[in-house]
């Protein structure tokens, strides 16, 4: 699988993501600087975690208007898989590639801890290597992960199986609506989530539960 990681000023988990992709796919991913206007020919584009533009204005708001974003929108239209993690999820929402917003955590503090994630839909390109209902461990590290959207959109997301991951067992760290941890776009090729599966891939991390997410994409594009 060929992949690319988009780097914005202030991205800071891009190195974690580059490492995880190389480890799991066996192919070195491209790092794409935000001023580029074209993407390399890849199967997966990742917007990594971090504090693009220092979270100034609103999280993800400035990056969402960067030079590279039209190319990402076009790739999404072509059906290329797009994954946004943490700040990447915030950017995808700000860019309109995913519905809703990520607000300040309900506790008003940055939270770094392990949470439980439940696989609500195991038939997506990003979750097919998990079982439906499976609960896995994953770290979060964010200050703005409180997912919110209007009632109609929420009903559609839930009804269409687009809430792929939910915080489980009372571990919702940020107050997000319906315990939403990760959602898909209508077509199912754009996925955003707040937790960091790229930090849950080796025994050193305590468990390897995050690998299946990347292996799912690997299988989907094969």
């Amino acid at each position: 699988m060929k992949s690319a990681v988009v780097v914005f000023p202030g991205s800071n988990r891009e190195r974690d993501m580059l490492y995880a992709l190389e480890l799991i796919t066996g192919v070195k991913p491209h790092a794409v600087w935000h001023t580029e206007r074209d993407l390399p020919d890849v199967d997966l584009v990742v917007l990594p975690g971090g504090f693009s533009y220092g979270d100034y204005l609103r999280t993800g708001a400035i990056a969402a208007r960067g030079n590279i974003m039209p190319a990402i929108a076009k790739a999404a239209d072509r059906g290329v898989r797009i994954l946004g993690v943490c700040n990447g999820f915030q950017i995808l929402c700000e860019a309109g590639l995913l519905p809703g917003v990520l607000m300040r955590n309900a506790g008003l503090k940055f939270v770094c801890r392990h949470v439980k994630l439940q696989v609500v839909n195991a038939e997506t390109d990003f979750t097919r290597k998990y079982e439906r209902g499976q609960v896995w461990n994953c770290p979060v590290a964010h200050g703005d992960g409180n997912y919110f959207t209007d009632t109609d959109t929420l009903a559609r997301l839930e009804g269409e199986g687009r809430v792929a991951l939910r915080y489980a067992e009372g571990t919702n760290p940020n107050g997000s609506l319906n315990d939403i941890a990760g959602i898909l776009n209508e077509r199912g090729n754009v996925f955003g989530l707040m937790p960091h599966p790229e930090n849950m891939i080796e025994p050193l991390n305590g468990a390897t539960d995050g690998r299946a997410l990347f292996e799912s994409v690997l299988e989907a594009v094969a």
């Binding site: 000023p9 202030g10 800071n12 988990r13 190195r15 974690d16 490492y19 995880a20 971090g50 504090f51 533009y53 220092g54 979270d55 100034y56 503090k109 940055f110 939270v111 770094c112 801890r113 770290p139 590290a141 200050g143 960091h196 790229e198 930090n199 891939i201 080796e202 025994p203 050193l204 991390n205």
Partner: protein, 739 residues
Amino acid sequence: MIPNVVPVTPELIAEHGLKPDEYQRILDLIGREPTLTELGIFSAMWNEHCSYKSSKKWLRTLPTTGPRVICGPGENAGVVDIGDGQAIIFKMESHNHPSYIEPHEGAATGVGGILRDVFTMGARPVAALNALRFGAPEHPRTRHIVSGVVAGIGGYGNSFGVPTIGGEVNFDPSYNGNCLVNAFAAGLADADKIFYSEAKGVGLPIVYLGSKTGRDGIHGATMASAEFGEGTEEKRPTVQIGDPFSEKLLLEACLELMASGAVIAIQDMGAAGLTCSAVEMGAKGNLGVELDLDKVPCREDGMSAYEMMLSESQERMLMVLDPAREKDAEAIFVKWGLDFAIIGKTTDDLRFRVRRHGDVMADLPIKELGDQAPEYDRPWIATAKPETLSPASAPAPSDVGEALARLIGLPDMCSRRWVWEQYDHLIQGNTAVGPGGDAAVIRVERQKKGLAFSLDVTPRYCAADPVEGGKQAVAECWRNLTAVGAEPLAITDNLNFGNPEKPEIMGQLVGCIQGIGEASRALDFPVVSGNVSLYNETNGKGILPTPTIGGVGLLPDVAQRATIPFKAEGEAIILVGETKGHLGQSIYLRDIAGKSDDKSAPPPVNLAVERRNGDFVRTEIRAGNLTAVHDLSDGGVFVALAEMAIASGIGARVKPETALPLHAWAFGEDQARYLVTMPEKDAESFMARAAQAGVPAARIGVTGGSELTLAGATPISLVELGVAHEGWLPAYMAEGAEL
């Protein structure tokens, strides 16, 4: 030279923190009245924070070399060889005064400053830790300061992208008007690609990089070298404002620039900003420096030479560049959206010359400014040696189990989860042991080996006996690194004390440095960097002497590490080291027995025993013989057992064979001890190996169940212990805790 508009009066000199004899020294040195800009420059270079004038004489006594030391004190940070052509670069620095005045920005810029010290030398930061000391919980400002400092540290480190993986948090009334924020950072570099601050070559361009210069932080270093009194809050404008986003860009730009080969010398602008960085680069390289301030990128209009030379605006660097590579260098900085300006050049006349609007605003001898700052041999009085308290004379609690349940939930003993969950401790994906362990451990990126970090000091020990306290801080740090399986390599020290002009305070400083020196020599644990913070006093009352020690250790194989939690039921629990029931200066005596005025001796440190016991435990860990390991410190054996049980959810049944009173056995703080576990079947051979190594070891119990049971005390359920341990800090911060 332009004449002074403002006359240099004794008041003005005093406002610059210069003593009359120091001013006379300036007059003798330059043979005329200094300009206002020059007075500011002297004040910046000769204050305690930058010149170490009170401590230098004693700091020279510390061991600073060793087979693994690549660079000791004197540079931005210490450099230590970790094999495979790699080096770890680390330092700890205080940001105490700014953090008290403005907790969020003070702490944030403390983190920013120490990260810059590390990446200035060419290292990518891989770990941050911090040692925090706050006033009594019931003091009206404490909650506000805790909240601001923690959010400030998290806000900066999280955005910058370094894992904050450990540290210390303590409360004591002596910090009521003067909190301590000691920030530690470590970075990885190739051992043959380390960058230094010594300028080389005449006529080379001096380049300004990073954020623009503003009026923030003017006289920050001078402020940090004065005592606090009434009106401290009015000093807020002297606190700098941090921008972790700019710092992250500066990191990436600097590392890219260094890789390009264009950098000859580099120095970050920390305390006393442009002044200190330019003087240090020139003085170290035996070169003069000429600056044209009109070229300096400014955030505000109409800044004077005085303001620009003393500004402590953050996220700025000064470099000497290879002139042939100027264009490449500029392109890198344009890519990262940072300012890049050539603001001067190196000269051969050993003068520090500064121009503004064409006028010479300062023209000073550069060596005397830097290397030849005043140095004092301040009078000191050794702290009287305290008496040792016998175990039998410490009051017993009504029930040792009930005492444990109280101890584990005390402000100084409870879980710090509320703090470290606000720090991203997992970024970079290499965290092997995060906050809450004896030492934090990371994997070296894409390697088998690991690095361990620990910050330690027990200020109440240092107050009672500075020499033993200084030894204990180093020994405790060495032991914490050992307890995860690491070989302790070297330390950085952050010496926080009161006013050195008082002989008793100076005596504490001298005593602690003596103890640190003894311990680091005995344990082959050299001091490679450090920082001194004096005048930590409010209204004439000093803080507890607090020489924080930051240690780094190496694990050849990160998979072969030990952790605190019990691993299985039915395992043997063995206490390594000798238990004498030393309760003097213990947490038990202070907080449970109510002896807050305890003047007895702290536990003595026998460095040979420390080394023998530690080397044995490390060997056992590396051989894979142990399932859990915990160092014993505050609260002694019983607190350590409780922490191992809480962390695992597995209880223990313990029955000591001892002639000591039970509470002295349970809560005594004797040094050089560890608790270890292993499968029952392996216990006998372990005991034999311990005996062979001459290491005292005693089987004290077995893991299992859902309670902690000590023969002779009421059993306590792990649920109850866990609630007590986790409860206090969040409740306190939510303003709901009973004080």
